[in-house]
Symmetry: C2
Subunit: 298 residues, 2 copies
Amino acid sequence: MAASETEADFAAWMGTTQARVEAALQRSLPGPQHVPARLHEAMRYATLEGGKRVRPLLTFAAGELAGADPARLDSVACAVEMIHAYSLVHDDLPCMDDDVLRRGKPTVHVEYDEATAMLVGDALQAQAFQLLSEPGLAGDPKLQLEMVKTLALAAGSRGMAGGQAIDLAATGKQLSQTELEFMHVRKTGALISAAVKMGALCAGSCPPALEQYAHRIGLAFQVVDDVLDSEASTATLGKTAGKDSAQGKPTYVSAMGAPRAKAFAEELRRGAQEALAPLGRRALRLQQLADFIVLRKF
Amino acid sequence: MAASETEADFAAWMGTTQARVEAALQRSLPGPQHVPARLHEAMRYATLEGGKRVRPLLTFAAGELAGADPARLDSVACAVEMIHAYSLVHDDLPCMDDDVLRRGKPTVHVEYDEATAMLVGDALQAQAFQLLSEPGLAGDPKLQLEMVKTLALAAGSRGMAGGQAIDLAATGKQLSQTELEFMHVRKTGALISAAVKMGALCAGSCPPALEQYAHRIGLAFQVVDDVLDSEASTATLGKTAGKDSAQGKPTYVSAMGAPRAKAFAEELRRGAQEALAPLGRRALRLQQLADFIVLRKF
Protein backbone atom coordinates (compact mmCIF):
# COMPACT_ATOMS: atom_id res chain seq x y z
CA MET A 1 0.00 0.00 0.00
CA ALA A 2 1.12 3.58 -0.65
CA ALA A 3 1.51 5.81 2.39
CA SER A 4 -1.72 7.69 1.68
CA GLU A 5 -3.67 4.45 1.36
CA THR A 6 -2.23 3.25 4.65
CA GLU A 7 -3.24 6.52 6.27
CA ALA A 8 -6.77 6.33 4.90
CA ASP A 9 -6.99 2.76 6.07
CA PHE A 10 -5.83 3.75 9.58
CA ALA A 11 -8.31 6.63 9.70
CA ALA A 12 -11.11 4.24 8.74
CA TRP A 13 -10.03 1.69 11.36
CA MET A 14 -9.86 4.42 13.98
CA GLY A 15 -13.32 5.74 13.08
CA THR A 16 -14.87 2.29 13.15
CA THR A 17 -13.22 1.42 16.46
CA GLN A 18 -14.17 4.72 18.07
CA ALA A 19 -17.81 4.22 17.01
CA ARG A 20 -17.72 0.67 18.30
CA VAL A 21 -16.34 1.82 21.67
CA GLU A 22 -18.95 4.58 21.87
CA ALA A 23 -21.71 2.02 21.34
CA ALA A 24 -20.17 -0.30 23.93
CA LEU A 25 -19.95 2.54 26.46
CA GLN A 26 -23.60 3.41 25.75
CA ARG A 27 -24.53 -0.18 26.59
CA SER A 28 -22.23 -0.50 29.59
CA LEU A 29 -23.36 2.60 31.46
CA PRO A 30 -26.65 2.43 33.38
CA GLY A 31 -29.29 4.58 31.68
CA PRO A 32 -31.20 7.44 33.32
CA GLN A 33 -34.24 5.14 33.57
CA HIS A 34 -32.41 3.61 36.54
CA VAL A 35 -32.52 5.37 39.91
CA PRO A 36 -30.70 7.64 40.70
CA ALA A 37 -31.43 9.14 37.29
CA ARG A 38 -29.36 12.28 37.71
CA LEU A 39 -26.24 10.38 38.74
CA HIS A 40 -26.59 8.02 35.78
CA GLU A 41 -27.16 10.95 33.45
CA ALA A 42 -24.03 12.65 34.80
CA MET A 43 -21.98 9.45 34.44
CA ARG A 44 -23.01 9.34 30.77
CA TYR A 45 -22.27 13.04 30.35
CA ALA A 46 -18.77 12.46 31.71
CA THR A 47 -18.03 9.45 29.53
CA LEU A 48 -19.96 9.55 26.25
CA GLU A 49 -19.24 11.53 23.11
CA GLY A 50 -15.87 12.68 24.29
CA GLY A 51 -12.21 12.47 23.55
CA LYS A 52 -10.16 10.59 21.03
CA ARG A 53 -10.48 7.31 22.93
CA VAL A 54 -6.73 6.78 22.77
CA ARG A 55 -6.77 4.09 25.48
CA PRO A 56 -9.60 2.04 23.91
CA LEU A 57 -7.84 2.33 20.53
CA LEU A 58 -4.69 0.91 22.13
CA THR A 59 -6.71 -1.90 23.71
CA PHE A 60 -8.22 -2.82 20.35
CA ALA A 61 -4.92 -2.56 18.48
CA ALA A 62 -3.14 -4.76 21.03
CA GLY A 63 -6.05 -7.19 21.19
CA GLU A 64 -6.41 -7.50 17.42
CA LEU A 65 -2.67 -8.11 17.14
CA ALA A 66 -3.00 -10.95 19.65
CA GLY A 67 -6.15 -12.34 17.99
CA ALA A 68 -8.64 -11.47 20.75
CA ASP A 69 -12.41 -11.72 20.46
CA PRO A 70 -13.74 -8.19 19.72
CA ALA A 71 -16.67 -8.62 22.15
CA ARG A 72 -14.15 -9.10 24.95
CA LEU A 73 -12.20 -6.08 23.81
CA ASP A 74 -15.39 -4.01 24.07
CA SER A 75 -15.67 -4.69 27.79
CA VAL A 76 -12.00 -4.17 28.49
CA ALA A 77 -11.82 -0.96 26.47
CA CYS A 78 -14.89 0.37 28.29
CA ALA A 79 -13.44 -0.46 31.69
CA VAL A 80 -10.21 1.38 30.89
CA GLU A 81 -12.08 4.37 29.47
CA MET A 82 -14.34 4.57 32.53
CA ILE A 83 -11.28 4.79 34.79
CA HIS A 84 -9.89 7.50 32.53
CA ALA A 85 -13.20 9.41 32.49
CA TYR A 86 -13.51 9.23 36.28
CA SER A 87 -9.98 10.59 36.67
CA LEU A 88 -10.80 13.57 34.48
CA VAL A 89 -13.96 14.34 36.46
CA HIS A 90 -12.10 14.29 39.77
CA ASP A 91 -9.09 16.17 38.38
CA ASP A 92 -11.31 18.99 37.19
CA LEU A 93 -12.87 19.56 40.63
CA PRO A 94 -12.12 22.86 42.39
CA CYS A 95 -9.96 21.16 45.03
CA MET A 96 -7.78 19.69 42.26
CA ASP A 97 -7.15 21.48 38.93
CA ASP A 98 -10.34 23.57 39.15
CA ASP A 99 -11.19 23.48 35.47
CA VAL A 100 -14.46 24.44 33.80
CA LEU A 101 -13.93 23.03 30.30
CA ARG A 102 -13.31 19.45 29.20
CA ARG A 103 -13.71 17.88 25.79
CA GLY A 104 -15.25 21.17 24.67
CA LYS A 105 -18.07 20.98 27.24
CA PRO A 106 -18.53 22.37 30.77
CA THR A 107 -16.91 20.02 33.30
CA VAL A 108 -19.19 17.76 35.34
CA HIS A 109 -19.13 19.84 38.51
CA VAL A 110 -20.05 22.94 36.45
CA GLU A 111 -22.85 21.22 34.53
CA TYR A 112 -24.12 19.41 37.65
CA ASP A 113 -22.50 20.14 41.04
CA GLU A 114 -19.40 19.18 42.99
CA ALA A 115 -20.99 16.42 45.04
CA THR A 116 -22.41 14.81 41.90
CA ALA A 117 -19.02 15.05 40.18
CA MET A 118 -17.37 13.29 43.08
CA LEU A 119 -19.98 10.51 43.04
CA VAL A 120 -19.76 10.22 39.23
CA GLY A 121 -16.05 9.49 39.57
CA ASP A 122 -16.55 7.08 42.45
CA ALA A 123 -19.32 5.20 40.63
CA LEU A 124 -17.42 5.07 37.32
CA GLN A 125 -14.49 3.42 39.06
CA ALA A 126 -16.79 0.77 40.56
CA GLN A 127 -18.52 0.31 37.19
CA ALA A 128 -15.17 -0.39 35.51
CA PHE A 129 -14.40 -3.24 37.91
CA GLN A 130 -17.92 -4.55 37.62
CA LEU A 131 -17.51 -4.78 33.84
CA LEU A 132 -14.29 -6.74 34.20
CA SER A 133 -15.93 -9.17 36.61
CA GLU A 134 -18.80 -10.24 34.33
CA PRO A 135 -18.71 -14.03 34.02
CA GLY A 136 -17.12 -15.35 30.86
CA LEU A 137 -15.46 -12.12 29.79
CA ALA A 138 -12.08 -13.70 29.11
CA GLY A 139 -12.88 -17.40 28.82
CA ASP A 140 -10.35 -18.17 31.53
CA PRO A 141 -11.34 -16.57 34.85
CA LYS A 142 -7.69 -16.44 35.88
CA LEU A 143 -6.95 -14.12 32.99
CA GLN A 144 -9.92 -12.01 33.98
CA LEU A 145 -8.55 -11.68 37.50
CA GLU A 146 -5.23 -10.64 36.02
CA MET A 147 -7.06 -7.87 34.17
CA VAL A 148 -8.75 -6.73 37.38
CA LYS A 149 -5.37 -6.63 39.04
CA THR A 150 -3.73 -4.81 36.13
CA LEU A 151 -6.42 -2.13 36.14
CA ALA A 152 -6.47 -1.78 39.93
CA LEU A 153 -2.69 -1.35 40.07
CA ALA A 154 -2.80 1.18 37.22
CA ALA A 155 -5.55 3.21 38.91
CA GLY A 156 -4.32 3.07 42.50
CA SER A 157 -1.82 4.78 44.76
CA ARG A 158 1.18 3.37 42.92
CA GLY A 159 -0.39 4.20 39.57
CA MET A 160 -2.66 7.01 38.45
CA ALA A 161 -3.89 8.28 41.83
CA GLY A 162 -0.31 8.23 43.11
CA GLY A 163 0.85 10.18 40.06
CA GLN A 164 -1.82 12.78 40.79
CA ALA A 165 -0.61 13.10 44.36
CA ILE A 166 2.98 13.61 43.19
CA ASP A 167 1.74 16.16 40.65
CA LEU A 168 -0.09 18.15 43.34
CA ALA A 169 2.94 18.13 45.60
CA ALA A 170 5.16 19.29 42.73
CA THR A 171 3.15 22.42 41.94
CA GLY A 172 5.44 25.43 42.09
CA LYS A 173 8.57 23.29 42.04
CA GLN A 174 11.03 22.55 39.26
CA LEU A 175 11.50 18.81 38.77
CA SER A 176 14.38 17.07 37.06
CA GLN A 177 13.65 14.98 34.00
CA THR A 178 13.98 11.82 36.10
CA GLU A 179 11.46 13.12 38.64
CA LEU A 180 9.07 14.18 35.88
CA GLU A 181 9.31 10.75 34.32
CA PHE A 182 8.68 9.08 37.67
CA MET A 183 5.53 11.18 38.05
CA HIS A 184 4.19 10.71 34.53
CA VAL A 185 4.87 7.00 34.32
CA ARG A 186 2.29 6.84 37.12
CA LYS A 187 -0.11 9.67 36.30
CA THR A 188 -0.60 8.92 32.60
CA GLY A 189 1.62 6.01 31.67
CA ALA A 190 0.16 3.41 34.04
CA LEU A 191 -3.33 3.48 32.54
CA ILE A 192 -2.03 3.60 28.96
CA SER A 193 0.15 0.57 29.67
CA ALA A 194 -2.83 -1.18 31.25
CA ALA A 195 -4.92 -0.47 28.14
CA VAL A 196 -2.34 -2.21 25.94
CA LYS A 197 -1.70 -5.09 28.34
CA MET A 198 -5.38 -5.81 28.97
CA GLY A 199 -6.11 -5.84 25.24
CA ALA A 200 -3.42 -8.49 24.76
CA LEU A 201 -4.62 -10.42 27.83
CA CYS A 202 -7.99 -10.85 26.11
CA ALA A 203 -6.16 -13.29 23.85
CA GLY A 204 -4.20 -15.01 26.59
CA SER A 205 -1.01 -13.13 27.40
CA CYS A 206 0.90 -9.91 26.85
CA PRO A 207 4.26 -10.23 25.01
CA PRO A 208 7.12 -8.26 26.64
CA ALA A 209 7.52 -6.28 23.39
CA LEU A 210 4.06 -4.80 23.98
CA GLU A 211 4.86 -3.82 27.55
CA GLN A 212 7.95 -1.97 26.34
CA TYR A 213 5.94 -0.27 23.60
CA ALA A 214 3.26 0.72 26.09
CA HIS A 215 5.75 2.22 28.52
CA ARG A 216 7.32 4.40 25.83
CA ILE A 217 4.09 5.48 24.23
CA GLY A 218 2.58 6.32 27.63
CA LEU A 219 5.42 8.67 28.39
CA ALA A 220 5.39 10.13 24.86
CA PHE A 221 1.68 10.88 25.29
CA GLN A 222 2.41 13.04 28.33
CA VAL A 223 5.36 14.85 26.74
CA VAL A 224 3.14 15.76 23.77
CA ASP A 225 0.37 16.82 26.16
CA ASP A 226 2.79 19.20 27.86
CA VAL A 227 3.88 20.65 24.52
CA LEU A 228 0.27 21.08 23.37
CA ASP A 229 -0.73 22.71 26.67
CA SER A 230 1.96 25.33 26.13
CA GLU A 231 1.43 25.87 22.39
CA ALA A 232 -2.13 25.02 21.31
CA SER A 233 -5.28 27.08 21.86
CA THR A 234 -8.17 26.28 24.18
CA ALA A 235 -10.45 25.92 21.15
CA THR A 236 -8.35 23.23 19.49
CA LEU A 237 -7.65 21.40 22.78
CA GLY A 238 -11.25 21.41 24.01
CA LYS A 239 -9.85 22.13 27.47
CA THR A 240 -8.23 25.20 28.99
CA ALA A 241 -4.80 25.74 27.40
CA GLY A 242 -1.77 27.09 29.23
CA LYS A 243 -3.01 25.81 32.58
CA ASP A 244 0.21 24.06 33.50
CA SER A 245 2.36 27.15 33.47
CA ALA A 246 -0.45 29.29 34.98
CA GLN A 247 -0.63 26.84 37.89
CA GLY A 248 3.14 26.55 38.20
CA LYS A 249 3.13 22.86 37.31
CA PRO A 250 6.40 21.29 36.26
CA THR A 251 6.19 19.96 32.70
CA TYR A 252 8.58 18.66 30.08
CA VAL A 253 8.39 22.11 28.50
CA SER A 254 9.35 23.85 31.74
CA ALA A 255 12.05 21.25 32.44
CA MET A 256 13.74 21.14 29.04
CA GLY A 257 12.12 23.75 26.80
CA ALA A 258 9.72 23.06 23.93
CA PRO A 259 12.28 22.09 21.26
CA ARG A 260 13.99 19.48 23.43
CA ALA A 261 10.61 18.21 24.66
CA LYS A 262 9.53 17.68 21.05
CA ALA A 263 12.76 15.88 20.28
CA PHE A 264 12.24 13.68 23.35
CA ALA A 265 8.72 12.78 22.21
CA GLU A 266 10.11 11.86 18.81
CA GLU A 267 12.78 9.71 20.44
CA LEU A 268 10.12 7.90 22.48
CA ARG A 269 8.01 7.38 19.36
CA ARG A 270 10.96 5.77 17.59
CA GLY A 271 11.67 3.66 20.66
CA ALA A 272 8.06 2.49 20.70
CA GLN A 273 8.28 1.53 17.02
CA GLU A 274 11.51 -0.35 17.65
CA ALA A 275 9.89 -2.31 20.46
CA LEU A 276 7.25 -3.46 17.98
CA ALA A 277 9.75 -4.57 15.32
CA PRO A 278 9.85 -8.26 16.36
CA LEU A 279 6.07 -8.45 15.90
CA GLY A 280 6.29 -7.46 12.25
CA ARG A 281 3.33 -6.45 10.14
CA ARG A 282 0.83 -7.59 12.81
CA ALA A 283 1.78 -4.54 14.85
CA LEU A 284 0.75 -2.07 12.14
CA ARG A 285 -2.11 -0.50 14.11
CA LEU A 286 0.06 -0.01 17.18
CA GLN A 287 2.73 1.60 14.99
CA GLN A 288 0.15 3.92 13.51
CA LEU A 289 -1.19 4.77 16.96
CA ALA A 290 2.31 5.71 18.11
CA ASP A 291 2.50 8.11 15.18
CA PHE A 292 -0.99 9.40 15.89
CA ILE A 293 -0.22 10.04 19.56
CA VAL A 294 3.07 11.84 18.99
CA LEU A 295 2.22 13.71 15.82
CA ARG A 296 -1.30 14.84 16.86
CA LYS A 297 -1.95 18.53 16.80
CA PHE A 298 -5.21 18.58 18.77
CA MET B 1 -23.37 -21.65 78.46
CA ALA B 2 -25.00 -19.02 80.68
CA ALA B 3 -25.88 -15.70 79.04
CA SER B 4 -22.95 -13.87 80.62
CA GLU B 5 -20.52 -16.54 79.48
CA THR B 6 -21.89 -16.27 75.93
CA GLU B 7 -21.51 -12.51 76.09
CA ALA B 8 -17.95 -12.75 77.35
CA ASP B 9 -17.20 -15.27 74.65
CA PHE B 10 -18.64 -12.96 71.98
CA ALA B 11 -16.68 -9.99 73.31
CA ALA B 12 -13.50 -12.06 73.16
CA TRP B 13 -14.24 -13.21 69.58
CA MET B 14 -14.96 -9.64 68.57
CA GLY B 15 -11.74 -8.34 70.12
CA THR B 16 -9.66 -11.07 68.49
CA THR B 17 -11.27 -10.55 65.10
CA GLN B 18 -10.93 -6.77 65.26
CA ALA B 19 -7.24 -7.12 66.11
CA ARG B 20 -6.79 -9.61 63.30
CA VAL B 21 -8.47 -7.25 60.81
CA GLU B 22 -6.36 -4.34 62.02
CA ALA B 23 -3.20 -6.37 61.41
CA ALA B 24 -4.44 -7.42 57.98
CA LEU B 25 -5.21 -3.81 57.06
CA GLN B 26 -1.74 -2.80 58.24
CA ARG B 27 -0.26 -5.37 55.87
CA SER B 28 -2.61 -4.61 52.97
CA LEU B 29 -2.08 -0.87 52.80
CA PRO B 30 1.11 0.42 51.17
CA GLY B 31 3.44 1.92 53.77
CA PRO B 32 4.79 5.48 53.75
CA GLN B 33 8.16 4.09 52.57
CA HIS B 34 6.48 3.84 49.15
CA VAL B 35 6.16 6.98 47.01
CA PRO B 36 3.97 9.03 47.29
CA ALA B 37 4.58 8.85 51.04
CA ARG B 38 2.01 11.45 52.06
CA LEU B 39 -0.80 9.76 50.13
CA HIS B 40 0.05 6.39 51.66
CA GLU B 41 0.23 7.93 55.11
CA ALA B 42 -3.19 9.53 54.57
CA MET B 43 -4.67 6.25 53.32
CA ARG B 44 -3.49 4.61 56.54
CA TYR B 45 -4.80 7.51 58.63
CA ALA B 46 -8.22 7.07 57.00
CA THR B 47 -8.37 3.31 57.49
CA LEU B 48 -6.35 2.18 60.51
CA GLU B 49 -7.26 2.33 64.20
CA GLY B 50 -10.81 3.32 63.58
CA GLY B 51 -14.36 2.19 63.96
CA LYS B 52 -15.96 -0.96 65.24
CA ARG B 53 -15.19 -2.87 62.02
CA VAL B 54 -18.80 -4.00 61.77
CA ARG B 55 -18.43 -5.07 58.12
CA PRO B 56 -15.25 -7.13 58.67
CA LEU B 57 -16.88 -8.74 61.71
CA LEU B 58 -19.82 -9.74 59.52
CA THR B 59 -17.44 -11.11 56.88
CA PHE B 60 -15.65 -13.23 59.48
CA ALA B 61 -18.88 -14.43 61.12
CA ALA B 62 -20.38 -15.43 57.77
CA GLY B 63 -17.12 -17.00 56.61
CA GLU B 64 -16.56 -18.97 59.82
CA LEU B 65 -20.13 -20.24 59.63
CA ALA B 66 -19.44 -21.48 56.10
CA GLY B 67 -16.05 -22.95 57.03
CA ALA B 68 -13.86 -20.50 55.12
CA ASP B 69 -10.07 -20.24 55.40
CA PRO B 70 -9.32 -17.29 57.77
CA ALA B 71 -6.46 -16.07 55.54
CA ARG B 72 -8.99 -15.58 52.73
CA LEU B 73 -11.35 -13.80 55.06
CA ASP B 74 -8.55 -11.36 55.94
CA SER B 75 -8.31 -10.17 52.33
CA VAL B 76 -12.06 -9.99 51.81
CA ALA B 77 -12.68 -8.17 55.09
CA CYS B 78 -9.94 -5.67 54.23
CA ALA B 79 -11.36 -5.05 50.77
CA VAL B 80 -14.81 -4.33 52.21
CA GLU B 81 -13.39 -2.10 54.94
CA MET B 82 -11.33 -0.13 52.41
CA ILE B 83 -14.47 0.62 50.40
CA HIS B 84 -16.19 1.69 53.62
CA ALA B 85 -13.25 3.87 54.67
CA TYR B 86 -13.06 5.53 51.25
CA SER B 87 -16.78 6.33 51.39
CA LEU B 88 -16.36 8.02 54.77
CA VAL B 89 -13.46 10.13 53.50
CA HIS B 90 -15.42 11.33 50.47
CA ASP B 91 -18.66 11.83 52.47
CA ASP B 92 -16.86 14.08 54.91
CA LEU B 93 -15.56 16.45 52.22
CA PRO B 94 -16.90 20.01 52.16
CA CYS B 95 -18.88 19.39 48.95
CA MET B 96 -20.66 16.48 50.63
CA ASP B 97 -21.45 16.39 54.37
CA ASP B 98 -18.66 18.81 55.29
CA ASP B 99 -17.65 17.16 58.53
CA VAL B 100 -14.52 17.75 60.59
CA LEU B 101 -14.65 14.81 62.99
CA ARG B 102 -14.63 11.09 62.26
CA ARG B 103 -13.85 8.19 64.58
CA GLY B 104 -12.83 10.78 67.17
CA LYS B 105 -10.13 12.28 64.91
CA PRO B 106 -10.03 15.19 62.46
CA THR B 107 -11.36 14.07 59.06
CA VAL B 108 -8.82 13.43 56.30
CA HIS B 109 -9.34 16.73 54.46
CA VAL B 110 -8.86 18.60 57.77
CA GLU B 111 -5.74 16.65 58.77
CA TYR B 112 -4.31 16.73 55.22
CA ASP B 113 -6.17 18.70 52.52
CA GLU B 114 -9.15 18.27 50.21
CA ALA B 115 -7.22 17.09 47.17
CA THR B 116 -5.43 14.47 49.25
CA ALA B 117 -8.74 13.32 50.76
CA MET B 118 -10.19 12.87 47.29
CA LEU B 119 -7.16 10.86 46.15
CA VAL B 120 -7.18 8.80 49.36
CA GLY B 121 -10.73 7.71 48.57
CA ASP B 122 -9.96 7.04 44.92
CA ALA B 123 -6.86 5.02 45.76
CA LEU B 124 -8.57 3.04 48.55
CA GLN B 125 -11.26 1.93 46.12
CA ALA B 126 -8.62 0.71 43.65
CA GLN B 127 -6.71 -0.98 46.48
CA ALA B 128 -9.82 -2.92 47.50
CA PHE B 129 -10.22 -4.39 44.03
CA GLN B 130 -6.52 -5.10 43.82
CA LEU B 131 -6.73 -7.13 47.03
CA LEU B 132 -9.60 -9.19 45.66
CA SER B 133 -7.69 -9.91 42.47
CA GLU B 134 -4.61 -11.42 44.10
CA PRO B 135 -4.04 -14.89 42.60
CA GLY B 136 -5.27 -17.77 44.71
CA LEU B 137 -7.41 -15.74 47.10
CA ALA B 138 -10.45 -17.98 46.81
CA GLY B 139 -9.04 -21.19 45.36
CA ASP B 140 -11.52 -21.01 42.51
CA PRO B 141 -10.92 -17.89 40.36
CA LYS B 142 -14.61 -17.90 39.37
CA LEU B 143 -15.58 -17.37 42.99
CA GLN B 144 -13.06 -14.57 43.21
CA LEU B 145 -14.60 -12.87 40.20
CA GLU B 146 -17.99 -13.21 41.87
CA MET B 147 -16.54 -11.36 44.87
CA VAL B 148 -15.20 -8.59 42.64
CA LYS B 149 -18.62 -8.27 41.06
CA THR B 150 -20.41 -8.32 44.42
CA LEU B 151 -18.19 -5.57 45.78
CA ALA B 152 -18.36 -3.48 42.59
CA LEU B 153 -22.16 -3.64 42.52
CA ALA B 154 -22.35 -2.77 46.22
CA ALA B 155 -20.05 0.23 45.79
CA GLY B 156 -21.38 1.59 42.51
CA SER B 157 -24.21 3.72 41.20
CA ARG B 158 -26.86 1.15 42.05
CA GLY B 159 -25.31 0.56 45.46
CA MET B 160 -23.48 2.85 47.86
CA ALA B 161 -22.62 5.73 45.50
CA GLY B 162 -26.20 5.70 44.21
CA GLY B 163 -27.54 5.78 47.77
CA GLN B 164 -25.36 8.80 48.44
CA ALA B 165 -26.75 10.56 45.39
CA ILE B 166 -30.32 9.87 46.52
CA ASP B 167 -29.43 11.10 50.00
CA LEU B 168 -28.04 14.38 48.62
CA ALA B 169 -31.13 14.93 46.49
CA ALA B 170 -33.38 14.24 49.49
CA THR B 171 -31.89 16.92 51.74
CA GLY B 172 -34.63 19.25 52.92
CA LYS B 173 -37.36 16.84 51.84
CA GLN B 174 -39.55 14.50 53.84
CA LEU B 175 -39.38 10.94 52.52
CA SER B 176 -41.88 8.15 53.08
CA GLN B 177 -40.69 5.02 54.85
CA THR B 178 -40.59 3.21 51.50
CA GLU B 179 -38.42 5.93 49.97
CA LEU B 180 -36.13 5.95 53.00
CA GLU B 181 -35.74 2.21 52.77
CA PHE B 182 -34.98 2.43 49.04
CA MET B 183 -32.23 4.94 49.82
CA HIS B 184 -30.69 3.12 52.77
CA VAL B 185 -30.73 -0.31 51.18
CA ARG B 186 -28.29 1.28 48.74
CA LYS B 187 -26.36 3.73 50.89
CA THR B 188 -25.60 1.44 53.83
CA GLY B 189 -27.28 -1.89 53.19
CA ALA B 190 -25.51 -2.81 49.96
CA LEU B 191 -22.02 -2.88 51.46
CA ILE B 192 -23.17 -4.65 54.63
CA SER B 193 -24.86 -7.30 52.49
CA ALA B 194 -21.70 -7.60 50.40
CA ALA B 195 -19.62 -8.09 53.57
CA VAL B 196 -21.78 -11.05 54.60
CA LYS B 197 -22.05 -12.55 51.11
CA MET B 198 -18.33 -12.28 50.35
CA GLY B 199 -17.46 -13.93 53.67
CA ALA B 200 -19.64 -16.89 52.74
CA LEU B 201 -18.28 -16.93 49.18
CA CYS B 202 -14.82 -17.56 50.63
CA ALA B 203 -16.12 -21.04 51.42
CA GLY B 204 -17.89 -21.57 48.10
CA SER B 205 -21.38 -20.09 48.15
CA CYS B 206 -23.76 -17.85 50.07
CA PRO B 207 -26.94 -19.54 51.41
CA PRO B 208 -30.16 -17.52 50.77
CA ALA B 209 -30.73 -17.37 54.55
CA LEU B 210 -27.59 -15.26 54.85
CA GLU B 211 -28.69 -12.88 52.11
CA GLN B 212 -31.99 -12.33 53.93
CA TYR B 213 -30.17 -11.81 57.23
CA ALA B 214 -27.79 -9.34 55.59
CA HIS B 215 -30.60 -7.31 54.06
CA ARG B 216 -32.38 -6.93 57.38
CA ILE B 217 -29.31 -6.22 59.43
CA GLY B 218 -28.11 -3.64 56.90
CA LEU B 219 -31.32 -1.72 57.21
CA ALA B 220 -31.37 -2.09 61.01
CA PHE B 221 -27.87 -0.63 61.12
CA GLN B 222 -29.06 2.54 59.42
CA VAL B 223 -32.20 2.90 61.56
CA VAL B 224 -30.04 2.64 64.68
CA ASP B 225 -27.58 5.14 63.19
CA ASP B 226 -30.43 7.60 62.71
CA VAL B 227 -31.59 7.12 66.29
CA LEU B 228 -28.07 7.54 67.66
CA ASP B 229 -27.48 10.67 65.56
CA SER B 230 -30.54 12.25 67.14
CA GLU B 231 -29.94 11.05 70.72
CA ALA B 232 -26.25 10.41 71.40
CA SER B 233 -23.52 12.96 71.99
CA THR B 234 -20.61 13.82 69.69
CA ALA B 235 -18.20 12.48 72.31
CA THR B 236 -19.75 9.01 72.43
CA LEU B 237 -20.28 8.83 68.63
CA GLY B 238 -16.78 10.03 67.70
CA LYS B 239 -18.43 12.04 64.93
CA THR B 240 -20.59 15.15 64.93
CA ALA B 241 -23.99 14.31 66.46
CA GLY B 242 -27.29 15.86 65.37
CA LYS B 243 -25.97 16.49 61.84
CA ASP B 244 -28.91 14.88 60.08
CA SER B 245 -31.52 17.21 61.48
CA ALA B 246 -29.18 20.23 61.26
CA GLN B 247 -28.70 19.47 57.54
CA GLY B 248 -32.40 18.77 56.98
CA LYS B 249 -31.75 15.14 56.05
CA PRO B 250 -34.67 12.75 56.10
CA THR B 251 -34.10 9.96 58.64
CA TYR B 252 -36.13 7.21 60.26
CA VAL B 253 -36.44 9.50 63.27
CA SER B 254 -37.81 12.39 61.20
CA ALA B 255 -40.07 10.02 59.24
CA MET B 256 -41.60 8.05 62.12
CA GLY B 257 -40.33 9.52 65.39
CA ALA B 258 -37.73 7.97 67.70
CA PRO B 259 -40.00 5.46 69.50
CA ARG B 260 -41.31 3.93 66.27
CA ALA B 261 -37.83 3.96 64.74
CA LYS B 262 -36.53 2.00 67.73
CA ALA B 263 -39.40 -0.46 67.43
CA PHE B 264 -38.64 -0.85 63.71
CA ALA B 265 -34.97 -1.58 64.44
CA GLU B 266 -36.06 -4.21 66.96
CA GLU B 267 -38.41 -5.74 64.40
CA LEU B 268 -35.58 -5.92 61.87
CA ARG B 269 -33.28 -7.48 64.46
CA ARG B 270 -35.86 -10.20 65.15
CA GLY B 271 -36.34 -10.71 61.42
CA ALA B 272 -32.59 -11.10 60.99
CA GLN B 273 -32.50 -13.70 63.80
CA GLU B 274 -35.40 -15.57 62.23
CA ALA B 275 -33.62 -15.69 58.89
CA LEU B 276 -30.71 -17.41 60.65
CA ALA B 277 -32.89 -20.02 62.39
CA PRO B 278 -32.42 -22.76 59.73
CA LEU B 279 -28.65 -22.52 60.20
CA GLY B 280 -28.88 -23.41 63.90
CA ARG B 281 -26.02 -23.04 66.33
CA ARG B 282 -23.49 -22.37 63.55
CA ALA B 283 -25.01 -18.92 63.13
CA LEU B 284 -24.30 -17.87 66.74
CA ARG B 285 -21.80 -15.11 65.83
CA LEU B 286 -24.16 -13.61 63.27
CA GLN B 287 -26.95 -13.67 65.84
CA GLN B 288 -24.73 -11.93 68.34
CA LEU B 289 -23.69 -9.37 65.74
CA ALA B 290 -27.35 -8.59 65.02
CA ASP B 291 -27.81 -7.89 68.73
CA PHE B 292 -24.61 -5.88 68.82
CA ILE B 293 -25.61 -3.73 65.86
CA VAL B 294 -29.11 -2.97 67.07
CA LEU B 295 -28.46 -2.70 70.79
CA ARG B 296 -25.21 -0.68 70.56
CA LYS B 297 -25.18 2.62 72.36
CA PHE B 298 -22.05 4.11 70.77
